[in-house]
């Protein structure tokens, strides 16, 4: 492939000129599936990825849930980690400088237990060098609403997201759960609250039982289903939101493993594609998608990955 005809992988994830987000390629990591970045940087230079979305950070450090924390299911896995993380302050002190120094485009994922916590979290990360965007993980329980996750309700979505957008100078993505009756309505609520875009989808709520012992296979009883099993749900959710809000940037994710999977999510409406569980099976998964995408495009005569966005004829 001659240099001139190498397809253009650049994507823009913000329609707001005041808060731009340009990535050299559409492949990013899914939150909670890439730890601090150092772990995979042992294998390759993670600076080549479109961006790194870090594990969701909470205000206080969290030890998370007891083991067992995962179980493999048919073409998928359930996890119940319980948002184990060092807390936002420790991350800012120990991890962000390393990422920034290496030139990694970093998207910080924030998870609050209350609406007010989202604001505090957004304030803590505000102005920190090297943060390209915020992903507000609102698919986590709202302790003020009987543990119902924020993104389960339009109002809670609006409340949490507006706390973040109010204090942030960088683009804000609302990470939504697919476990809702109408995901496009939740996405619209996030947009009303000033979100730059949405991240679709978080894991599906699931459960598995050890029939020999009668005990749940997860310490946390229920957990989040990810991996190839859920890709059809991700494609549908992305398509649904993209059809309702065609201009809204979407970071798509859910079961992506191969270059055609990436293309499928982009055709459904994603501007960028995050990879989670696939990295567990192959530490090079994200890099190989960055490398494989140009060939796929070139072989089919596409000049830019942007041509494919929302291109499904439906």
């Amino acid at each position: 492939m001659s240099a001139e005809r190498r397809p253009d992988l650049r994507v823009s994830l913000s329609a707001d000129p005041a808060r731009p987000l340009e990535l050299p390629n559409p492949i990013v990591t899914a939150s909670g599936c890439f730890a601090s970045g150092r772990e995979i940087d042992r294998f390759f230079d993670i600076g080549g990825l479109g961006a790194v979305v870090v594990k969701s950070l909470t205000l206080e450090p969290r030890l998370g849930l007891p083991t067992p924390r995962m179980v493999e299911t048919d073409s998928g896995m359930l996890n119940a980690i319980g948002l184990q993380n060092p807390g936002v302050d420790a991350w800012l002190a120990n991890d962000l400088p390393w990422l920034a120094e290496r030139g990694v485009r970093t998207i910080v994922s924030l998870a609050g237990k209350t609406v007010a916590e989202y604001r505090t979290l957004a304030e803590r990360v505000r102005g920190q060098p090297g943060i390209a965007a915020i992903e507000a993980n609102i698919s986590c329980p709202n302790v003020e609403d009987r543990g119902m996750v924020f993104a389960a309700r339009e109002e809670a979505t609006r409340d949490a997201i507006s706390q973040v957008t109010r204090v942030s100078a960088v683009p804000v993505f609302a990470k939504l759960t697919p476990d809702v009756t109408d995901i496009a309505a939740i996405a619209a609520a996030a947009v009303e609250a000033g979100a730059t875009g949405v991240s679709l989808i978080n894991t599906l709520s699931g459960m598995a039982i050890d029939v020999e012992t009668g005990r749940p296979r997860l310490g946390g009883v229920t957990g989040g289903l990810s991996g190839p099993a859920i890709r059809p749900v991700a494609v549908r959710a992305i398509h649904e939101v993209h059809r309702a809000l065609p201009d809204l940037p979407i970071i798509g994710m859910g079961g992506v493993r191969s270059v055609p999977d990436v293309v499928e999510l982009i055709m459904a409406g994603a501007s960028a594609v995050a990879v989670g569980t696939a990295t567990f099976a192959d530490p090079f998964a994200t890099l190989e998608l960055v490398e494989g995408l140009p060939d796929w495009l070139a072989e089919r005569g596409y000049r830019s990955v942007r041509q494919l966005r929302g291109a499904v004829q439906a």
């Binding site: 042992r42 030890l63 998370g64 007891p66 119940a80 978080n202 946390g220 530490p283």
Partner: protein, 300 residues
């Protein structure tokens, strides 16, 4: 570089940095049944060159709807011979992944990531080391024994299992140690009972100065307690369900007292070898560590 390496490509195909773990598509050089176990010898020169005892590799498996790799301790490496650089792993068939791997034979291709995790720290001064293994937990200890002997330490082995055929490679064990002792729960081989029944005697008689252990968590907790009583340094190789094996998913955690406080450390990254006295044995798989109310359905 191809996104789907494997068949057709020259093996081993290796990808990674100058040091640290790599991913290799490797040929199986030999398959051997050893008692209840299956041993694969895999041509993986980069991994063989970088491995230390106590580290593990993560193997891709096929079949059914499996998507994750399976972790296995390295039980030995060979840098020499016509095939430069092989590693050995030992499998106990417990599910679809191990069944698939046990079905591999010479010339088949396997996809390996490794070496992974923290290995056993070796004594700085010449020392008498007691290595305590349960079931296939003996596997990494044979590799450790070879290295300890090579460096001039005294090695005594104590291997236990449910039955005799689950005592891994007794013959190899005898070759690599000053003394060996076996226990089986059914008494079919060695002393009837558990390793902890005979550990105190052996530790005394050999004059053990350090204990290394690998096996089921219950056994490790018991060995750790005995080591503590005798004020012997003890390094254990722990086992937890692993999602990724490379430190990114946080599923394999073990409650641990770190210098800076209590933490859930990753068996695949900070471990699998951990300092026994820092492991919070009583908190494993309980909410005792959570430090905050555990929300059900808090999926990630």
């Amino acid at each position: 570089m191809s996104t789907v390496p494997g068949r057709g490509q020259p093996t081993p195909y290796t990808r990674g940095r100058e040091d640290g773990p790599v991913r290799s598509i490797c040929e199986v050089l030999a398959y051997r049944k050893i008692g209840a176990y299956h041993q694969l010898t895999i041509v993986a020169p980069d991994i063989a060159a970088r491995a230390t005892p106590g580290q593990f590799v993560s193997l891709a498996v096929e079949g059914g709807g499996t998507i994750l790799r399976r972790p296995f301790s390295i039980t030995g490496v060979s840098q020499h011979g016509p095939w430069a650089g092989t590693i050995d792993v030992v499998l106990d068939v417990v599910g679809p992944g191990t069944a698939w791997l046990a079905g591999r034979s010479k010339h088949d291709v396997v996809d390996v990531v490794g070496p992974l995790g923290r290995g056993f720290p070796l004594p700085r001064q010449p020392a008498t080391c007691l290595l305590v293994g349960g079931g296939y937990g003996a596997a990494p200890l044979l590799y450790l024994a070879a290295q300890l002997q090579h460096r001039g330490h005294r090695v005594d082995l104590l291997f236990g299992a449910k039955t005799g055929e689950r005592i891994f490679n007794a013959i190899e064990g005898k070759r690599q140690a000053s003394s060996t002792r076996f226990t089986t729960e059914d008494g079919s081989f060695g002393t009837q009972g558990r390793v902890t029944d005979v550990l105190p005697d052996i530790a005394t008689s050999t004059g053990a100065e350090a204990i290394y252990a690998c096996g089921p968590m219950g056994m490790l907790a018991a060995v750790a307690a005995q080591a503590r009583e005798r004020r012997l340094p003890c390094q254990v190789s722990v086992e937890e369900l692993m999602g990724c094996g490379v430190g990114v998913c946080n599923t394999c955690v073990v409650p641990y007292r770190r210098r800076d406080g209590l933490a859930n450390v990753r068996a695949c990254y900070e471990g699998p070898v951990l300092d026994a006295k820092r492991v919070v044995w009583e908190a494993i798989g309980t909410t005792a560590m959570a430090g905050e109310p555990v929300e059900q359905g808090d999926a990630s």
